[in-house]
Symmetry: D2
Subunit: 438 residues, 4 copies
């Protein structure tokens, strides 16, 4: 109980003057520093994910585990699970992060049947409750792992076998109860096995209908038990499945609107998933925000030259600036946050690497926040965007916006006014403005 | 008027016994041959596109035109436009294709102002009307070119300048009138400039609102003038714009549902656009069909190793089989069709290449039709798919489908019935079945 | 010893009349059928890979094992390893495949140190020797697994730690001895960890020098012990490493020529790796063949819409035709072969799926062989290609080829002869010819 | 002659205090400022490319020209060509760039035959000579456009028609003479049409042999006339051709070594081409440098989510830092430079955009230079890399490097010394160090 899992790592401090080689210190992230009227920690709401950081082994499709943690004996015992959780809360505290996130099966071993699994989960949730209370760390979101167990290989809510659908439903029922008990601020669905490997054996429509039916059951039960957290769907285009139904932000919005679920769910956007869908890093964050659907962010990055999810720690200040600008413009992410769905490289085998990676990412986001705050505050950029669309505030443009016009009227306008003026988009000018701040 | 533009090319005939080197003959496509109760030409509804086949020059971003047609003097004169159109109808007739498709600016030169442009268009539409009547060739669809002229460089309906919006509206007004006059069975919108090059200068939400406003104006005018063709939106993820709002089938469906337009539009799917969006060749055709939104198909293909739209002639029978299987299962494409939005390679400089390319693609689709018909007719595949989902017809599965169940009931089911059986997805078996037919 | 591992599966037979749903039978592959003067089995030299087919578990980065084989108790015991090997030889025999391939660590468990590992290997090699003799199955190639063990996480021969280099060297020494004993016809190197994850911590040049030093040691030892098999390098651009030095065929050839190793090695080409490098399916097979470096083929396929190695069974006859055409044109692959570096989908959980997958692929290659043979035999295609380059046989072209000319002479030729004629590349014509055969 | 083409743009000045909206001023690039013992302008050797900046029209595959320059009447007249060139030199001077680069056909119109073309070229070269002398601007490199004219549609030196080969040779002969006359420091070959669109009609080996023959003729003539500039090959994987033989740095090195040309050529690396080949931005720069083959850089960038060459101005300081670190470590690029093979977006239609784009990129490179200089100077990073490989300086590692060891000795070493220690690759630590500087 009083074990110390990271004896060589102190509470991480802030020192803006630290040297190049000092990577176990915050150089920008200063939680109580005020930016645009809120503290950094209010804006940034960082969360550590339990799966990568405490269950990741460094195994990859071509290699065995490389990450051996001294507290983890590799067993599925409850004792091992408890040690892992204590190590995690020590990590959260030393890092100074106020939120965490987990899948049900991350924190407690799956048993020989659902009853045992639920009992295991209860045991660990009790410990989590104590540790949350003791440390002041909150649960950003909980989720159910509906993809790793072989029963889900052909899908969970979209499985061709109704028995599997039932299993997923039962698992989520328990997950919602756990989320309620631990005060989770959100509950996430990532449909890693909801999709197809080959269209040849798949009835897409039936599967999507079933997925919608599943979500309706979830909404009903959530309301019944009084869980008030936001339900979030996390898009990902592919991997592990060849095609996943929750391809990207707009596809999920299409699904929600098709099935009348758009008021019950928001999106949890992961930039590495966005880039796998062929978009730029911040695209889905921007699209979700534009439609009022941005709930939370899995703040990571990928390598644009790789075709799979690398879940790297975000280290690029230009990217973090772009994201924080959107977050600031929508007034913050709460009750969502910035969850580090990131893993240390499998070659980063030291305990210190766990800290270094998170610190580097937190500093990158703190720098992004400061850059974005200046951009928003000075308004140079936003004024120029506003000006670009100003023709819609007057004259024929205003009639378009108020939907009072017609093709006939617009034709008359053109016959009278002729060719529009050419107006430069000025992309390089806008890019140079960003470089002024970043 | 009596000019012959392809003096060396006879009407293309059918000869299933032709040799390897004979590529100016149909070996499978036999228009009146009956397949599953309809003739091949009823199923396949081939259309030749005017832009690539009669306006394509072979120019690419690194090279000048290579395709010099004897009837085309390169000028923007009305006479030249008329010669081109006569050559086109000779081509359609010799090829034996019953449909064509065009953009307004393909068939008639843009003038110094809208009035002149419209007048030019009227002149050529008159000729088209005569030639349609004379040859029995119908107009599969018309569309407006809202992307090539510099005025549209920052978008048409999503342009930050309301004047450009008006221009696009005026152009579409005329386009609808022309479509009506020529008996177009559909009218297509491809938003090649509706999107962004950089988020920095863009208000996504305002642009999408304006795009919806535009489509509402179109619907109103279409109804007013009594044009009964189907309105189609053609998704494309990117190129020429960095990000296009009509990314893929599901994104367009999201847009339509968001703005309440889903009953007024269907989709025109182009497989080369689908693969650029990161999906497999037939994905968007399948998705659109599953949601009852498949209106028409731009039957082409790309090279999966290239990141741009190559608009190649579809020559792969596996692909055409996959597409025709979906088409057969939805009972045909009418009033849509299979429009060859394809261009001969810029190195394919002979007139004969124009025919060879279309013939090869038509034969590939005819083979695909025959394979798909056998697959559908024998029902081996569909029975196995049906069986895969059979658990939803009984017991707890049936209660899921009728939405009578709850998470609590499903949990009880699992606690009682335990772990689901593992059932193989049998992908390789399904693939082998396809190879039996193709 | 006399155990039967696939009691429900008979020796796979040939029946060209089998129905669509019959996928446990060859419909085209008929080993003794003669094609262009050789039997199918002489041309096709199929090999089953031990790793995927007998060590694959169906685990993926997001999911646990799904493939449970009745003979495999999941342990690392020698007894388990022996059972696996007996099952494998039963599989080879029932399938009628004459070759297999393995990594050292596939067939025998790694021990607590190299001595134990080598002893384990010897034990299993002895069994392999007996089973090879009993069944007439030969070893197409052996290889060492220098990527899965954590010691290799930063590379084997390119590891920054010389101790790891030494370990890899010791492992390969044993591997060569085993290859010699089992009569391996080739020995393969796949450098899955030879590359970098970040340039920041990497000295590329030093690593490539070391890789070359490693290969020189291998060549020396190979000669010393009298192993006459071909040494093969297998290119792959990325995955698991961000960048692998053996990116594609031409990159490996560059490496070999840079270090004077081009006469000691050939290439083992895997089409799924080729497509991950951004090329078309058969590109690296064609490039390697053009440079006389095509040694063997890992005959699999990927999904062009996925950015990772899916190692699917090749089922596309157009692809197999393209590959077999190159193989026929170079007179066969011996001592190389067509190794199925393929895995059943993790959802294909039945034992029968193992057979169905291989049978489907073997039939696809047999069809490809027959198509390619007709293409080569009739010579329609090759004559047209020959004709395309005929200008190099005469006049100024002949002087170019014999390198007797100069820029001055060529300028004079142009000043005298003017502009070259435009000659169509006729791509669609060539594609139509292929469709005549496939 | 005394015309002023950019009347509203002054000579661009340096002002590190300029505001966000001021984008017509250098904030970091200060040509005479000394960094690591050289001035910025010595390190950076910026070059403006004539083709994009003075011949680019903004046309794209879906759109007509958008960029209308007041001095350009759109004609092919010599007078127009002269005005363009004068405008260009005014641009170079106002921007303060000391180098330019061009293709033969950029600066002078192609005539009705080679004689006329050469005469046109001479006329413009004479003007260029005068303007170079007057302004002090030098020619970084010249090149021949062997890809835009239809005659090259099937390749230049790899064309199946020897007549085209001859034409390309004649054109390069003149190009070399022009380069000599204008004091070009390099001469570049970009093989945009050297490759294949389909393997079906292509003899790869013959084409590569011919390409090598071509380069040998070039080397001979270069020596004959005493041109001492460096010959450079610029790799690009694809576009406009489906596959280009000069795929990436390593592929070109393979080609050069195969044909014994590696001492006569270096590489001109373009990062946008590198990313199209599936590598990270600086990969080919790093590979070329590691092999002593880095001659010059086409300093641009692409959009990682787009599959074609966007030739954007480099604005990312992390990228420019990575590149300048390599440049500093090899002691500079001379006689190569940083050529801006970049184009303003087609929507950036104002003359000022031409300046803003170049200024933004020059500042990004100046910031990259300063960051890289600090990284190199402080040595924190390089010391840690050195330390990573230190085991090769002693003991068994030293014997590996000196190639004195054998597999037997290495096996003995492992049997005695056992398992290597696990050493973290520390990627996140290295990334954090970079973030300290950038």
């Amino acid at each position: 109980d009083e074990a110390v899992f990271f004896p060589d790592i102190p509470k991480i401090s802030f020192n803006s003057e630290a040297g190049a080689n000092e990577t176990l210190v915050f150089k920008t992230y200063n939680p109580k520093e005020v930016v645009l009227g809120k503290t950094m920690e209010e804006w940034l709401r960082f969360s550590v994910c339990f799966w990568h950081t405490f269950r990741g082994t460094g195994a990859d499709p071509f290699g065995f585990p490389t990450l051996h943690r001294p507290w983890d004996d590799g067993s599925d015992s409850i004792e091992n699970a408890k040690r892992r959780m204590r190590a995690a809360f020590e990590f959260f505290s030393k890092l100074g992060v106020k939120y965490w996130a987990f899948h049900d099966r991350d924190i407690a071993p799956e048993g020989s049947n659902l009853e045992v699994s639920n009992k295991n989960l209860d045991t660990l949730v009790e410990l989590a409750e104590q540790l949350q209370q003791k440390t002041g760390v909150h649960l950003l979101w909980a989720t159910c792992n509906l993809f790793a167990h072989p029963r889900y290989m052909n899908g969970a809510s979209t499985n061709p076998d109704a028995h599997v659908f039932a299993y997923a439903a039962a698992q989520v029922k328990k997950g919602l109860e756990v989320a309620l008990r631990l005060g989770a601020e959100n509950f996430v669905f990532w449909g890693g096995r909801e999709g197809y490997h080959t269209l040849l054996n798949t009835n897409i429509k039936k599967e999507l209908d079933n997925m919608a039916a599943f979500f309706r059951l979830v909404v009903a039960y959530k309301k019944k038990i009084g869980f008030n957290g936001t339900l979030l769907i996390e898009p990902k285009p592919k991997e592990p499945t060849k095609h996943q139904y929750d391809y990207d932000a707009m596809t999920v919005i299409a699904f929600l609107k098709t099935y009348g679920l758009e008021h019950e769910f928001k999106l949890n956007i992961e930039p590495n998933h966005t880039t796998l869908a062929g978009h730029c890093h911040e695209h889905d964050v921007a699209m979700a925000a534009a439609f009022g659907m941005l709930g939370s962010i899995d703040s990571n990055t990928g390598s644009p030259d790789l075709g799979w999810d690398t879940d790297q720690f975000p280290m690029d200040v230009k990217n973090t600036t772009a994201i924080m600008k959107i977050v600031i413009e929508q007034g913050g992410l709460q009750p969502g946050g910035l969850n580090f769905d990131c893993k240390v490289r499998r070659e980063s085998t030291e305990l210190a690497d766990m800290f270094i990676a998170h610190i580097g990412a937190m500093d990158a986001f703190a720098r992004g926040l400061k850059c974005a705050a200046r951009i928003v505050d000075e308004g140079v950029l936003s004024m120029q965007v506003l000006e670009r669309y100003s023709s819609y505030s007057i004259d024929i443009g205003a009639r378009v916006e108020s939907e009072e016009t017609s093709l006939e009227e617009l034709e008359k306008y053109v016959l009278k006014n002729g060719e529009p003026e050419r107006r430069s988009g000025r992309q390089e000018h806008f890019e140079s403005i960003i470089n002024h701040y970043v």
